[in-house]
Symmetry: D2
């Protein structure tokens, strides 16, 4: 039985059109690779990209989305404010959001964090080890103690985000840096998971462990049907039950 | 399809034998009522009680238990240290533990918290409102903004436990107190949920909302299959992948 | 020796001009009462109000402010976006921010939280008990187990803010509600404390315990001289020390 | 003016007697070097060691100690249970505890954490970089973005401790591991800081940054005079203020 989760995988889909190296790694786009990874874990997903109408994220699409994954890099500013705000509002209303790699600087993520989301980085030949620091967390399900990515862009601390509700993964880089790579937040009735790996010039989204983390993260971020959040309302005095 | 979770509902089963008032409310024991509540949510559970051999918690039983729920009150000291330690070790290895009401002073809970777990209390005619403060949390699934218990024993702050990883529920008492009533912790590879209501002289475990919280808590605490925890091990230098 | 902290107490200063009842309680303005309370604890403060040039919060004033306290209610929208953004940036750079009562809906607080900051409320004759749930926290210093406010506006959960790094105070209201009343956050290099009490029609800021909490909160939020945060910077590979 | 904090620096003081290499690095003992580091930061400290009567930690000494620092390695089991329990009780009552390096396996720390406190390790020629991940935290005061230790024993994840209230430092090791190296907890009315570096065969406690972190940690862990914690007490119904 397929997972009933309704997932939308969003990506800029620009690097793949401009840079033959990226296109060779991701012939179906980064979004295509992410969706294929979710399919391996029994999660069907639609995709949406920046150059579609309303970035492919109309109110109708978001209303039918339980969890949105977000990959962006070059064109954060081209996402209209109203689309970003629509995503934020849906998170507050319960939609899950999984933010990947350079999505740290996307409008919805920065808006939801309340910080600059700045970090340090280096493009080069670093390799990365991703360590599990919360083995009982559902996002760590079926992971080894750590997994390794042969080549990745380095992201280093200080990563200017709020302290997470739960820290699940920490990365080590061969050049001497560490990074909090898997972090869980709640915002309103929704849940947000940030996951670091995924530079466009490396086949990161083909990696089995990376795909597993994203699938686990999507399931963790799914709406829980929790108590519905009310908007700033006046409450009349009420008779207490005896 | 029944939930494949293997749940054991543990209770002292003493009040019910001594106090006709308690027996009238819980003819099948408090454990029986808790197990019946789980059954309403599709979770089958075995029960175990203090006066069984090894408190009904042999190594074999615990090895086959994914989540243990714990209700105790009068006889915390009669639980042998080795049984308490066995429970603690299983939590560290990934078993979920749902601690109910006066279980706050049980050996396993105190051992896992590292604090006195003291609180203030009052038996009387308080009533209680349980408020959701984390509506996106799975333990809040399908709850109203708050639910009310007409009569309950009061538990008040300061509740001497560590700050939880996630605070889900806060109680209001008519006598003027508040209490952090639903709290989530991780310990080793296991997860612990504390839930306040459940004095033996009130039909609390027959309440639909209370039953829902316990079922949600059991599902939340279930083992995730996360990265296996290693015990203090020496690590040889290793060749890094290039 | 006076505390060397440079504190600015900000307030709308509108109710006091319009409503004789408020003016009678706060003849020197709400800001005046807050500043007087800080003075009792050895903390000198300047004040600033909405109708001053740049809301009294020029870049020069903020640059000389270690901790800013904020009270606003009617006129959140009249604070220009650039002033709000300036406050946010100063928090990211290390300035402390203590947000009081209806400041929950102020632009800087909402921006720093990343949520709606909505809540439920009731004006009436509630009274409030404020309970300490983290007695070892510096903001709880010299407080009793709880303190009581005879009349206050009710604020109730769900309060739509992120889970705090540390929860210090929880309020009980006679009408049946609870509220997380004292919460600590870090944002960038700065620290934010939200404290609930303070409706303009009650003499809340004359209360000794309230004044103590605000003084403790100001000291807690003071800049620590921590590692300076860097903005998104490229890092060259570096020789590791041998 | 000297800091009025009353600090006790505790150490096993065994390696220094047995191993000439350790004695050469720490001619006044590890405790002597730690106390000397605190003195550089204006904090006077007494010392106490394992082979003194009652481990130098009589009830009288503990009653006069605001913050205790702990270094142990070989002889955790030689600390009598009653001494360990006395330390735990004093933490619950408000004493600060700074646990260093191999103190992760000490009786008081394990008891306060409620977990195994296991980790992985490697003695060799690793070097370590300690990164600040919470620059606004008082324990990060006056630290650079990271500091480096040329040679240290490796400690690696998964470190089996509860998720901290605040994570301040994360270490990078040349052999490929990461470690949460600076973590803050509250337990009862007391505060606990764990800080990783300090293998006995390296001059770690002579390092200026390490000394600064320990001094900052001692100040952070100092008793706050917060609301006194009450032990499990019955509360009579009380008249609410009108």
């Amino acid at each position: 039985m397929p997972d009933p989760l309704r997932v939308t995988v969003w990506s800029e889909f620009r690097h793949e059109k401009k840079n033959p190296k990226v296109a060779a790694i991701y012939p179906d786009g980064i979004h295509g690779a992410i969706a294929a990874g979710l399919a391996e874990h029994g999660i069907a997903a639609r995709t949406a990209t920046l150059d579609e109408t309303e970035c492919g994220l109309s109110a109708a699409v978001l209303a039918e989305t339980d969890v949105l994954t977000w990959w962006g890099h070059l064109a954060h500013k081209e996402v209209p404010d109203e689309v970003a705000e629509r995503v934020v509002q849906r998170v507050w209303d319960g939609m899950g959001l999984v933010v990947l790699h350079s999505g740290h600087h996307s409008k919805p993520f920065r808006r939801l964090m309340g910080t600059s989301c700045d970090l340090s980085w280096r493009e080069g030949d670093d390799h990365e080890r991703v360590w599990v620091v919360n083995p009982g967390h559902p996002i760590a399900a079926d992971l080894p103690d750590y997994f390794e990515l042969g080549s990745e862009e380095m992201y280093g601390e200080f990563f200017d985000v709020p302290q997470p509700d739960e820290l699940v993964l920490v990365s080590w880089f061969s050049g001497g840096e560490v990074f909090r790579s898997g972090m869980c937040y709640s915002r309103g009735a929704g849940r947000v998971f940030y996951f670091r790996p995924g530079h466009e010039t490396f086949p990161t989204y083909l990696d089995a462990n990376v795909r597993r983390v994203i699938a686990n993260g999507v399931r963790w971020a799914a709406p829980t049907g929790g108590a519905r959040r009310f908007r700033n309302r006046a409450v009349p005095p009420e008779e207490l039950r005896g």
